[in-house]
């Protein structure tokens, strides 16, 4: 059995955070969910995480785009420039499916782009798809150089 999918959720909207938390709980997920309010906070958490295990490995980053201070696109660029963080898996979560946003996200090496679900059933689909892809995909090398938490 693979490790549970831990999540770093980069999202400024409290309600969206709660909806995701509830969705995970509904599906009986036992993973950790760490929340950052914008790109700056997310980078801080990721860097701090290398010395202090806030976010258990392996994890996936769910990234909103419109955020204060550092938005999702900027965060992606900064992340990919970071030698020990660049392999992190990032799924962009955004309300719009505008081609510009989608293309920009993939240009910055997002691993996926998901339109924010509009209902709990849609959210269930998204979480379950993410978890099953998590199960069938191999985990990249340990990003923080620590042994995966089992």
């Amino acid at each position: 059995m693979k490790e549970e999918m831990n999540i770093l959720l980069v999202e400024d909207n409290d309600l969206d955070v709660e909806i995701l938390r509830r969705g995970l709980k509904r599906l009986g997920a036992s993973n950790s969910l760490v929340r950052a309010r914008d790109g700056v906070e997310a980078l801080e958490i990721l860097k701090e995480n290398q010395t202090r295990g806030i976010l258990p490995d392996p994890f996936v980053i769910l990234l909103d785009i419109n955020m204060p201070r550092m938005n999702g696109h900027e965060f992606l660029v900064a992340l990919r420039e970071c030698s020990d963080l660049k392999s992190a898996r990032v799924f962009v979560f955004k309300t719009s499916d505008s081609k510009e946003d989608v293309n920009k996200a993939y240009d910055n090496n997002a691993n996926g782009y998901i339109v924010k679900p509009n209902s709990s059933s849609e959210l269930n689909d998204v979480i379950q798809s993410l978890r099953s892809s998590w199960r069938i995909c191999e985990t990249p090398r340990c990003t923080a150089g620590r042994a995966p938490v089992t």
Binding site: N13, L15, D16, E18, I19, R22, R26, T95, S96, S119
Partner: protein, 354 residues
């Protein structure tokens, strides 16, 4: 007139002052003495008035005068024409300048209107986009309330109105969400430029048959165009909206039949989508193309009320026009033109192209 004399004796004389043709001052006169049969006869010849009349060239004077007059007239005309030309040129210059000013003003107004229009469209896009987050939030919160009330709903003294009202909130949220998506889609038409891969009409119709869950005979195609290379994202959108409309508004027992015809007309494709649906009353032919107009009453969940306005906006953006032939009971046929290939030069004004 002749008078003949011999010596001093006048033997024949026509030279009478009473003679009607008498000319007191003959134009020609001569006196000849001729020795005739041994007699010396003098002939005095004078011309009479007849001669004068026949030989006085008064016409010449008249012709000369008339010629001079004509010449003068021609010269006058030339002068007048030259002056008129000068005036015309001056006037033309004046008018052209005025026109140029007018057209500059028009161009300026046009630029202003177009930028205002762009701003308005961006504004509606931004508003709609920003409304999406709170709308989703309300939806999420409603679901949370429902989740938290599971026990209450299960209890015997639960008010059934609570659950049904929560369901009604969901319906409204769905509608709001569709509205904002529609506004976003509508306001972006024309801002994205020419996009899309070449579109094979047969493939497009085949995939619509799958999307709308139609049998082969329900959606048929007559095609002599093949592939279209211009702005195919929008073309697909137009076709999908017209076909989708035919599917959505089909009622009655007659099995739905939709015919798509693609005909080559010069360098353009003439596309006509006709159906055997209920038809549209001619008095609604304009209104159905307006945004958020639907001829159905009440809360029709599927209708976005924007499909045909998208069709209209897309087709007219290219300078085309959607034609509709329909009346109640006869089905409906929507027709429009679409360029098959990109023109090398930008769209020339029709007047300039002529």
């Amino acid at each position: 007139m002749l008078s003949i004399s011999e010596g001093s004796e006048l033997i024949y004389d026509e030279y009478e002052t009473t003679e009607p043709m008498f000319d007191p001052d003959p134009m020609f006169s001569d006196q000849i003495l001729i020795d005739l049969y041994g007699r010396n006869r003098g002939f005095d010849i004078r011309t009479n008035l007849t001669f004068r009349q026949e030989n006085s060239y008064s016409q010449l004077t008249f012709i000369l005068f008339a010629g001079l007059l004509t010449e003068a007239l021609i010269v006058f005309c030339l002068v007048v024409m030259a002056r008129a030309r000068t005036r015309a040129v001056r006037y033309a210059k004046h008018v052209t300048a005025a026109l140029r000013q007018e057209s500059a003003k028009l161009a300026e107004t046009n630029r202003y209107l177009s930028s205002t229009n762009d701003e308005l469209e961006q504004f509606s896009y931004a508003v709609s986009h920003n409304l999406k987050t709170p709308i989703r939030g309300i939806g999420g919160l409603t679901e949370m309330i429902e989740e938290d009330l599971e026990d209450y709903f299960a209890s015997v003294d639960a008010n059934p109105g609570v659950r049904s009202n929560l369901a009604r909130i969901h319906e409204r949220i769905d509608r709001m969400s569709r509205l904002t998506s529609s506004i976003m889609e509508y306001s972006r038409i024309g801002n994205q430029g020419d996009t899309g891969d070449p579109l094979d009409i047969k493939e497009a119709i085949d995939s619509m048959r799958v999307d709308f869950d139609l049998a082969p005979e329900q959606l048929q195609l007559t095609d002599d165009v093949g592939t279209i290379h211009v702005d195919t994202t929008n073309l697909r959108r137009v076709l999908e909206n017209i076909v989708g409309n035919a599917v959505k508004y089909h009622v009655g027992t007659a099995a739905l039949r939709i015919n798509v015809r693609a005909l080559r007309v010069g360098d353009r494709a003439r596309l006509v989508v006709s159906d055997n649906g209920p038809g549209i009353d001619p008095k609604f032919h304009d209104r159905i193309f307006d945004v958020f107009q639907t001829l159905r009453t009440g809360d029709t969940p599927k209708s976005r009320g924007i499909g045909l306005s998208i069709v209209k906006k897309v087709v007219e953006f290219d300078g085309g026009k959607v034609e509709l032939v329909s009346s109640i009971g006869t089905g409906a046929a929507f027709g429009f033109d679409w360029p098959i290939r990109k023109q090398l030069q930008s769209h020339a004004q029709p007047s300039e192209a002529a």
